[in-house]
């Protein structure tokens, strides 16, 4: 029987196989599913035909400790087909572990701690600091998926009495809007109501995300 024991995982960036010229010119963005629509729109609008997008499930955010290895696996799987791979994730609650994986795999990720930071612009987000401490952020994606990713995943559909344990220290919902969409505005306002919080809308667009994608070679 063949020995199926795997050797210890090396931390050395893996060198990809020799690629065809065509493959060498292609870049894959491995991104969070929460950014799929937005990254896709940047690629389409700017005619960035050398970029491909592969998204991992947005639900990974419920277990951020699993994000780094999921990204590593996707990066390694892409090596044979793409000249370059970049990562469309912020730190996303991985506490620096995603950066470690990116360094080990020799890939770059979009800077910033969270998607709501790079949507706001990382500098602006940092400057706001404690002023926004009691804000619960929504993006277009989170407004669309609010009931699934917030209400259901926190169990508030089954146990609404837990609401204040989760959100009692927050004061307002801040909707960081990527687009102008009256339907999403209404849904975001309703989300704030469900959480018992005040509501504020900020039109931020794609912030630093657009620049990151358009600069990818």
């Amino acid at each position: 029987m063949p020995d199926t024991t795997l050797p210890p995982r090396s931390t050395r960036p893996q060198r990809g196989p020799d690629l065809s010229e065509q493959a060498q010119d292609r870049t894959l963005i491995i991104a969070c599913g929460a950014l799929a629509r937005e990254i896709g729109s940047v690629i389409g609008r700017n005619g960035l035909s050398h970029l491909s997008l592969r998204c991992l499930p947005a639900t990974l955010h419920n277990t951020p400790e699993k994000i780094p290895e999921a990204v590593r696996e996707a990066v390694r799987a892409a090596r044979g087909n793409y000249g370059r791979v970049v990562v469309g994730y912020a730190d996303c609650g991985t506490g620096g572990l995603l950066d470690k994986v990116c360094a080990e795999e020799g890939v770059e990720r979009i800077p910033g701690p969270h998607c709501y930071a790079f949507y706001s612009g990382n500098k602006a987000f940092e400057t706001a600091g404690d002023d926004d401490m009691t804000s619960f952020y929504l993006t277009d994606f989170l407004v669309r998926q609010f009931d699934t990713l917030v209400i259901k995943s926190l169990g508030l559909d089954r146990h609404p009495e837990l609401r204040d344990m989760y959100f009692g220290n927050y004061e307002k919902v801040v909707y960081l809007a990527q687009t102008q969409n009256a339907e999403l505005d209404r849904a975001a306002e309703l989300a704030a109501e469900k959480l018992g919080l005040a509501y504020e809308r900020r039109q931020v667009g794609l912030g630093d995300l657009e620049h990151f994608i358009t600069e990818v070679n």
């Binding site: 951020p64 730190d91 609650g93 991985t94 506490g95 620096g96 572990l97 701690p113 969270h114 930071a117 600091g129 404690d130 401490m133 009691t134 926190l154 169990g155 508030l156 089954r158 146990h159 837990l162 344990m165 989760y166 220290n169 927050y170």
Partner: protein, 235 residues
């Protein structure tokens, strides 16, 4: 054959069955049932400390294991915690009266810029259940709050919590300030929070990274015992 849906009358259970039922009720987050069962055991002459440890803490230990193993999730753990809190509310004044054993003292708080306290509250409750006196500083604590509390309460342990990647580095500010003031080694520093890890705890100069409330309790006991041994051997 007994009807499985038949209501269980807690007062009709013997002590062992009742304690077992309390573990199940804690698991299911049944606050009122826990309150009722605590009162029944008190009426039967149980010592508050025994109810706390054998029924509540043991029940939450089981909840902690199933949370760690991915069988229970945060909402269920919060319901269990609520049920335990209700039981503790009845027992707390009685524990003070009866002079239950104290294992040590902990000052705990969420760091500056961070308002998240679910994990911290769970840790505080489990530590209290394990016999620690817990001084909870709440959320958004600048370094001064921690230092003042250390000075005032003289605990063995300082616990810091953070949920955000952007706020967790503040733990280093606290530890570095303690070093500057020459008091770092007077305390056991324990840190926790979703984005933290062992490596981060080492980097900020903490004594321990605590993955969850159950781990925190075990580690706190171990570190305090180790500390006592060190003090003993230096005599």
């Amino acid at each position: 054959m007994a009807d499985e849906d038949e209501d269980i009358v807690l007062s009709e259970l013997d002590d062992a069955e009742l304690v077992q039922q309390m573990h199940d009720d804690l698991y299911d987050g049944l606050k009122e049932e826990i309150e009722e069962a605590v009162n029944i055991l008190l009426e039967r002459g149980w010592a508050p400390y025994d109810i706390l440890t054998q029924a509540l803490v043991e029940g939450m230990r089981i909840v902690g294991i199933d949370f760690r193993d991915g069988i229970l999730f945060v909402p269920e753990v919060l319901l269990s915690a609520n049920a335990m809190k209700a039981g503790m509310f009845i027992l707390r004044p009685l524990l003070v009266e009866t002079g239950a054993p104290k294992v040590g003292k902990m000052v705990i708080g969420t760091v500056k810029g961070d308002i998240h306290d679910i994990g911290k509250n769970l840790v505080g409750m489990m530590m209290e259940g394990a016999g620690f006196e817990v001084i909870d500083l709440g959320i958004n604590n600048p370094v001064e709050n921690y230092l003042d509390a250390l000075e005032e309460h003289k605990p063995e342990i300082l616990g810091m919590s953070a949920l955000l990647t952007t706020t967790m580095p503040y733990m280093k500010v606290v530890v570095d300030t303690m070093k500057e003031k020459g008091i770092r080694d007077d305390y056991i520093v324990m840190v926790g929070g979703a984005p933290l890890n062992e490596e981060f705890a080492d980097a900020v100069g903490a004594d321990a990274y605590c993955r969850d409330a159950a781990v925190t309790v075990e580690m706190a006991k171990e570190l305090i015992a180790r500390r006592h041994n060190q003090l003993g051997s230096s005599d």
